[in-house]
Amino acid sequence: MKPLLVTSHCQSTVLPRLLRGARLAGLVAAALLLAIPGIAQEKAAAQEKAAAAAPAPAPKKPAEYIGSEMCGSCHEDIAKAFQKNPHQIVETDKKRHFDTKACESCHGPGSNHMESMSAADIRNPLKLRPAEADRACLTCHLNQPTHVGRINSSHAKNQVSCVSCHSIHKNGPHGLVPRKATEINQLCSGCHSDVWASFQRPFKHKLPEGAMSCVDCHNPHGGILPRGLQTANANEPGCNNCHGDKRGPFTFEHAPVRLEGCSACHQPHGSANPRMLTRSEVRFVCLECHSNLPAPTLPANGTLGTTPPAFHDLRSPRFQNCNVCHQKVHGSYVSRDLLK
């Protein structure tokens, strides 16, 4: 009967809540959408005005491809080092249709730049809008498995372009981006400084020690899981890559492990609490969920936590760290109470 009660409760509240949430989200989206035509109009008008005021520039002929050899005649040092750059393959490979034009595959046709010697006449991805810079890279790299999660990537949505992390002119087969754990962590913490601060806490994963890197757990290109979390064995959380013993399936599952993930109880970036727990005492990690009264009126928001174990004397230190006894808290093969 409980689900029926829950359903009826939800029915009574679902409409106003949905409306409220939709209104909130709608406001943001609508404001943005409404702003666009107006802003575009203003911008177009301003451009027209400016165009009318300024003398008409001499028409420039469309740039043409000149080939990498020509680029190298001036940019000699870059051209020389480029021989060992991973992108050198573009120079010889017909696959991407930029053979003999590797430089221009990113920088665009260079004939105007060659004539004027002006930096303004060549495309520099570093100066482009992030979306434009990404397009230059994705011309070749979109159709690779790395970018299949791009549609969910917070980096892509927050205008963190490819060249923010990748040094295109760097050398070596894997030189475009750091490969050593310490260097990867350094790169990520350059922006995610608040996350890096968490790793200074006593209980944390061993990133400052160089034993792990951010990309062991997160896919910076985006993935199917929230926060770009890596996956294991197709669609399991990436945590299982190292913590294989917590993977299951167990004959007695602990629901939050599947439904909310490890961060329901752990702070994976670091904590002052032992075992990276979210609370300083284990009992509160447990009891904050396991506190639904055994009455028929389960709360609509938070139905899955069960009754607390009333027969334990919580004043006694014996019972204050629940998982001293309920030690198989990630799931058990033989005990419904997760005791063994």
Binding site: V6, C10, L18, G21, A25, A29, L32, L33, A81, N143, Q144, V148, G149, N152, K157, N158, V160, S164, S167, P173, K180, S189, G190, C191, S198, Q200, R201, P208, G210, I224, A234, G244, D245, R247, G248, P249, T251, E253, E260, A272, P274, R275, R279, L287, E288, S291, N292, P294, P299, A300, N301, G302, T303, T306, T307, P308, D313, C325, Q327, V334
Partner: protein
């Protein structure tokens, strides 16, 4: 104010080992370049900066470095178990690091081989990595890690028990091996093979529980391993990409507990006049698991304005259970007031969890890519069919027939999750990008209830959440970037009392590069969550403010500085059922300050020496007031063209207000040579 002053004064001395410092000492110009890379993304470099020249290529066959030496520890003052739980560095000769690159000029077996290894010689984290490749033939990556997991935190178990802190103690190593072999790199058709292994082994002390009447710490041997084999094919063309992968996994868990000593357990008083004790235990797990999985992912570049993305992931893990346990002593079953002297437990069963995940999405770009629409749909669903069967037989050594309890279940769990998200991004000129969107999340779950549940074996929950998204990126010039993000949700149903319900999440980030030497970054994040249900009354507010300063003057190659300060607060309160089911409030507070700094000085000379002073500090007040200091000093002295003498000092100091007996402090010295070629 005093704290701030102290912080400023101590920042260079008390600071953390920044990630870069774990590397072998780099040349000053490399260091400066690294630090610069932190302060500015490449996209934000000054506009007039000329194109950066790549590092000159080496003509040498082999180059690299090796670091080796010796580590000393002063006596660990305080709690040694806690030291091992947090730091765990040991004494002795060490191979700190090897970094090697071999380029075969004749390109016989490989074009280039990169190998590196860190932390060998008994260190708690040893790693090795090899990459070997031959253009258009193969690309081999091998990664190995062995990470020690020692955990014996006194306050974590039962501080008042006779053997208290020993419970839930582990001295384990987790090893991971990852090898992937890609064929035809850079081509259109790329087959690949991979093997991964994750295993844990070691000893520990777990708890053998006799209902709620007593519990006993027992020595345990841990053994588990997961082997994963997979292979696939990638098709990469200009218009589309498809990857199809098939994999399989085997799993085994052979944990064992064995004890032959008399133990009184944690209970300090007799139960109905009888003393409860354990005199012998044999416990063995024999868990075997298999899984196969399928992965199909693809991207499609439909037109210059439209891209499609898709993923289909399926796994089907299965587990077979074999468990047996024999315990002897004096035990009690409180429900039936039964006292007995031995207990035999046999567990069998199986679990099977077919799990499907899929994602479809597309991106449409309009108005010369100024307007982008992104849509993504994700679904994740699994069913869990479990059939545990456990019998417990209680005997008392007399002629009385033993009592038996059998637990047999045959149940199915179901979890469905769906998410849709729309994002609209608009570039307002070249300086401003606006973002807005909406995300709908819904789900339903029927899962195994706790044994005290009033609703039977299964319990159901729902998830319905609507989330509004908004954001702004402002880049007025190459020196300044600001980013704002907002996410606000209204939930109709959530699974757990502590789940996000009515929440708002905001984040602001700004970076300013004053000049080529000096950069500043600030971040601010806040999360506010409310669940006003009268039986829950959950209120959470978490804030994090961080400021980072980089100073890498290019005119002076002799000094660079990185400093970071972070302050975070967490205020959480939620009502819960405490003693005798009385409603109480659980309040958690964390008010912490973290600071890290690294001052790099290059001492003048023909071949310059390098001094690094820095480290980290963490100070928190609140529910677990903690101080953790890790200052360090590193000196690298050149004693030959290719030989450096490296000496490090690092101090580890840890203390807690509530559990003062867990404090420790120690000095760690390392000295050794770095040979380079």
């Amino acid at each position: 104010m005093r704290f701030l002053l102290a912080l400023i004064l101590l920042a260079p001395a008390f600071a953390q080992q920044s990630p870069a410092q774990a590397n072998p000492p780099a040349k000053p110009e490399e260091k400066a370049a690294e630090a610069t890379a932190q302060t500015e993304t490449k996209a934000e470099k000054p506009a007039d900066k000329p194109a950066e020249s790549p590092a000159p290529s080496t003509e040498s066959w082999i180059d690299g470095s090796v670091d080796f030496g010796y580590r000393w520890l002063t006596n660990v003052n305080g709690n040694f178990q806690q030291y091992r739980s947090i730091v765990n560095l040991g004494e002795g000769p060490k191979l700190f690091g090897v970094d090697l690159t071999i380029q075969d000029p004749k390109r016989r077996l490989f074009d280039r081989l990169d190998a590196r290894a860190y932390g060998w010689g008994g260190d708690p984290y040893s790693t090795a990595h090899v990459n070997m490749r031959k253009a258009k033939i193969y690309d081999l990556n091998f990664d190995y890690r062995n990470i020690a997991y020692f955990n014996a935190v006194p306050s974590f178990a039962n501080p008042s028990a006779p053997l208290g802190f020993n419970e839930q103690t582990f001295d384990l190593h987790r090893k991971t091996i990852n090898a992937t072999l890609d064929f035809n790199p850079g081509g259109h058709i790329l087959p690949y093979l991979a093997y991964e292994r994750n295993s844990g082994y070691g000893n520990g002390i777990e708890t053998w529980v006799n209902e709620s009447t007593n519990e006993y710490p027992v020595p345990t041997v841990f053994r588990d391993s997961t082997d994963n084999y997979r292979g696939g094919l990638r098709l990469e063309y200009n218009r589309f990409h498809v990857t199809v992968e098939q994999g399989g996994t085997t799993f085994k868990d052979d944990d064992q507990a064995f004890d032959r000593t008399y133990q009184g357990g944690d209970r300090t008083t007799p139960l109905f006049g009888q003393t409860l004790y354990l005199t012998g235990l044999n416990q063995a797990y024999g868990i075997r698991g298999t899984s196969y999985y399928t992965k199909a992912i693809g991207t499609l570049h439909v037109t210059s304005n439209m891209d499609f993305y898709g993923q289909f992931l399926y796994s089907d893990p299965k587990t077979d259970v074999n468990f047996n346990e024999l315990a002897a002593g004096n035990f009690s079953q409180i429900n039936s007031l039964l006292f007995y002297s031995n207990q035999l437990t046999i567990g069998t069963g199986a679990a099977n969890q077919p799990h499907t995940t899929a994602n479809l999405g597309y991106e449409i770009r309009l108005f010369k890519n100024h307007l982008r629409l992104m849509y993504s749909w994700i679904t994740d669903r699994y069913t869990d069919n479990a059939s545990p069967f456990v019998t417990q037989t209680f005997g008392n050594g007399s002629a009385t027939p033993p009592a038996t309890i059998a637990t047999a279940l045959n149940y199915g769990q179901k979890v469905n999750y769906d998410q849709q998200q729309w994002d609209v991004l608009y570039d307002l000129g070249s300086k401003i990008t606006l973002r807005g969107g909406i995300r709908w999340v819904s789900g339903d779950a029927t899962v195994l209830a706790g044994s005290l549940s009033q609703t039977g074996n299964l319990v159901s929950g729902k998830l319905d959440r609507t989330i509004g998204l908004g954001g702004l990126t402002y880049r007025p010039n190459q020196k300044f970037t600001a980013n704002l993000d907002y996410e606000g949700s209204s939930s109709d149903n959530i699974y757990f009392r502590t789940s996000l319900n009515e929440y708002s999440k905001g984040r602001a980030r700004a970076k300013y590069q004053f000049n080529s030497a000096l950069g500043l970054q600030a971040r601010f994040t806040v999360l506010d969550n409310q669940n006003p249900d009268p039986s829950i009354r959950y209120s959470l507010r978490a804030r994090d403010n961080a400021i980072t300063l980089f100073w890498t003057p290019k005119s002076s190659k002799f000094v660079s500085l990185m400093g970071e300060y972070d302050r975070s607060t967490v205020q959480s309160s939620i009502s819960y059922l405490g003693l005798f089911l009385s409603q109480q409030t659980s309040s958690y507070r964390d008010n912490s300050h973290s600071a890290t700094a690294a001052l790099n000085l290059t001492l003048p000379g023909v071949v310059p020496a390098k001094l690094t002073v820095g480290g980290s500090l963490f100070v928190s007040n609140g529910s677990r007031s903690t101080q953790y200091y890790q200052p360090l000093v590193k000196l690298s002295l050149p004693i030959g063209k290719h030989v450096y003498w490296n000496t490090d000092w690092q101090y580890y100091g840890y203390g807690e207000q509530a559990y003062m007996f867990e404090a420790f402090r120690t000095h760690v010295f390392e000295t050794g040579l770095r040979l380079t070629k």
